[in-house]
Structure formats: structure tokens, C-alpha cells
């Protein structure tokens, strides 16, 4: 199986564990190496481009909260590879808050609401990361590292 990950991205122990979660789904292996970033960009018009596509992240207002939600999307350039099952984890400061599976025929795009179950699940200054995997035939797509920081004011 061919694995599409981001060779320039760093692989921390924490993310490594989670990538392993994604990859064990299809019994493939992932190679990634590089230099860790000291600080992360804001989740405002944040984009990570990789050789197979891109990830886009932005904050959006919701229910009177200027940062009520984070809009997150993964785009695969080869549209024939888009349909199928996606497994993803949403992490806040490295801690998984959602582990989900969804069947898509278009690109994976998700909303990460700030308010859930009567409380805020992330605050300004928290680090958000989504790790998604998607198998299309013999190709396994794994998102590049897309950590970003929740801003203090809406962009």
C-alpha cells in the first residue's frame, strides 16, 4: 500500500501514536521525519499544502461567539480518490476529543464547535490538530500535521 503523508512534517511521540491508530486501520506503515515547529500558526485562514492536496482551517462565528466553531477541510487533488470512508481524531492540546468515522462522497469537511455538552471544549490559546486517514484503493491518505492555535480574537 502506498502511504500519502507529509514528509516535511514532524512526528512527535503523541502524534505518532495517533497516526498509528489511523494506520492500523489498513495495516500500512507511515514514514515521516523533519523538524518540529516551536510555535504554531493561528487557526485563522490556516492552510497546509502537501503533495496530494491540502488542509484548510479557519475559525467561524456561531451562536454569538466570534470563535464559535472551527471549520476544517481536507482536499485530495485526485478526485477519483475522494469517495469512501474517513477516520479522524480531533485533538485539543494533544488530547483526543472526538474519534469519528464517516462515509463521504465529497471532500471531508468538519465543524468543530467550541461549545459542547454544556461547556467549552477548547479555549483561546489551545492547540487544535486533526488527524485523518482515508484509504482509496491501494493509497492511504494521512493528513499532514496541521496544528494551529485558537486565536484570542476572530480573524
Amino acid at each position: 500500500m502506498k502511504v500519502c503523508s507529509d514528509p516535511s512534517a514532524s512526528l512527535t511521540r503523541r502524534v505518532g501514536r495517533t497516526l498509528l491508530f489511523a494506520v492500523t486501520l489498513t495495516s500500512a506503515s507511515v514514514l515521516a521525519a523533519g523538524t518540529a515547529q516551536a510555535s504554531y500558526q493561528l487557526c485563522t485562514n490556516y492552510r497546509v499544502t502537501t503533495h496530494w492536496g491540502r488542509v484548510e482551517v479557519d475559525t467561524r462565528p456561531a451562536d454569538g461567539d466570534p470563535i464559535g466553531g472551527i471549520a476544517w477541510a481536507m482536499f485530495i487533488n485526485n478526485i477519483a480518490d475522494i469517495p469512501g470512508r474517513y477516520d479522524y481524531q480531533i485533538l485539543v492540546d494533544g488530547r483526543p476529543i472526538f474519534t469519528d468515522t464517516i462515509q463521504k462522497d465529497d471532500n471531508l469537511h468538519i465543524t468543530i464547535p467550541r461549545y459542547r455538552s454544556g461547556r467549552y471544549v477548547y479555549e483561546s490559546g489551545d492547540e487544535i490538530q486533526v488527524i485523518a486517514s482515508h484509504a482509496a484503493g491501494k493509497v492511504l491518505y494521512v493528513t499532514p500535521i496541521n496544528r494551529c492555535t485558537v486565536p484570542y480574537t476572530a480573524g
Binding site: 491508530f21 492500523t24 486501520l25 468515522t101 464517516i102 462522497d105 465529497d106
Partner: protein, 195 residues
């Protein structure tokens, strides 16, 4: 307790699909093997499937009430159910092509609320609409443009403007992209028509 609440919430949403659209829904609470192997596996799991629409979502609902769980699941699958069925679901009793929207308390429209588990109606889209937003889902940023040459789907990422201002019936212009979503073609770019 959380598992029981999740199951009851999933049952409510399933009833809304089966009653209004007539599609069978499967609910599986088995935690998948790959998740059971995690260092911190989920305590419970709901896999919610509508086979006729190829809709599947698997998650560990975190809301505290059955209605909240139904909301959590509904906001994940609403767009897929609409795009793959080609229908307006749940239909607003007051009319129009904007479906009722999921909230923590139930499906809400401009003039009222239907609790989860009590939806009975879906409707076909109005064939007279053309060149306007047919529906918009603010919880997932997905929308549909009514067009006499075939409806066109779009989302936040294709919209060139303030999505907070998108409203059903709003005139828009668009360009067609490759690929599709459900029964619809996709837009590469959507803009509001300037007054």
C-alpha cells in the same frame, strides 16, 4: 448511562429518517476492533448507518441527553442525507425548501420546533426555484443552489463572501467544478449577486 443515552438519541434520529424518508437505519454499538486496541479506547460507540443512502457515521456521542445526542448525530449527517436523497428533510410545516435545522432541543424552523423522533415529513424540492440558494446548513456550512439546469452543491470553502449572510432564496452566481456530491454537481466558486 452514557451509552444508554447515546442509543436513545440515535433511535430518535433513526425514527426521523425512517418515518419521513422511508429509509431503514442501522445502529451498531460494537466498538470497532481498531479503536479497542487504543491506549485509551472509547467507552461506548454508535455506528449510525443509512444503507440506501450510503450514509455512515461512527462516533462516541458526548451530549448529555438523548435529544442532544440526536443533535450531535444530525449535524454530522444532515448534509449527506439531503444531498444523497435529493429531498428536503425535515420539511418545514410552514413550507419552503429550507429544511428544519438541528438544535439541542429538536428540529427548529423560523416558526417552531419539532422534537427529535417526531418528524413525519420530507418534501420534494420546488422546481420553480432558479438561481438562488435553495437551502443552507449553518452548522456544517453546506448549501444547495437551485438551478433549472440541475441543482449545484457548495460549501463554505467555495463561497466568496460572508457565509453568515447566506439565506435561503438569496440570488447567487456560480461556476461548476469537477465531481459531485450525492445527486448534485459541485460548485468551484459561489458569489452573492450584488444588489
Amino acid at each position: 448511562m452514557d451509552q444508554e443515552i447515546s442509543r436513545r438519541g440515535a433511535d430518535l434520529l433513526a425514527a426521523d429518517i425512517e418515518s419521513a424518508l422511508g429509509f431503514e437505519v442501522h445502529i451498531d454499538e460494537t466498538i470497532p476492533e481498531h479503536l479497542r486496541r487504543l491506549a485509551d479506547p472509547p467507552g461506548w460507540w454508535i455506528e449510525f448507518t443509512v444503507p440506501a443512502l450510503n450514509v455512515l457515521v461512527g462516533t462516541t456521542p458526548g451530549e448529555l441527553t438523548p435529544s442532544g445526542v440526536a443533535y450531535e448525530l444530525a449535524r454530522r449527517i444532515h448534509d449527506d442525507v439531503l444531498a444523497r436523497s435529493g429531498r428536503i428533510w425535515p420539511a418545514d410545516p410552514e413550507g419552503g425548501d429550507q429544511p428544519l435545522l438541528p438544535t439541542l432541543d429538536g428540529w427548529r424552523g423560523p416558526r417552531g420546533l419539532i422534537p427529535y423522533g417526531q418528524v413525519k415529513a420530507a418534501k420534494d424540492p420546488d422546481p420553480n426555484l432558479d438561481g438562488v440558494v435553495r437551502w443552507w446548513l449553518p452548522h456544517s456550512y453546506d448549501g444547495l443552489i437551485a438551478s433549472h439546469s440541475g441543482d449545484v452543491w457548495f460549501s463554505l470553502w467555495q463561497y466568496q463572501g460572508d457565509e453568515q449572510r447566506i439565506a435561503p432564496g438569496m440570488p447567487v452566481t456560480w461556476l461548476i467544478d469537477e465531481g459531485g456530491h450525492g445527486k448534485y454537481r459541485k460548485a468551484s466558486e459561489v458569489r452573492p449577486v450584488q444588489p
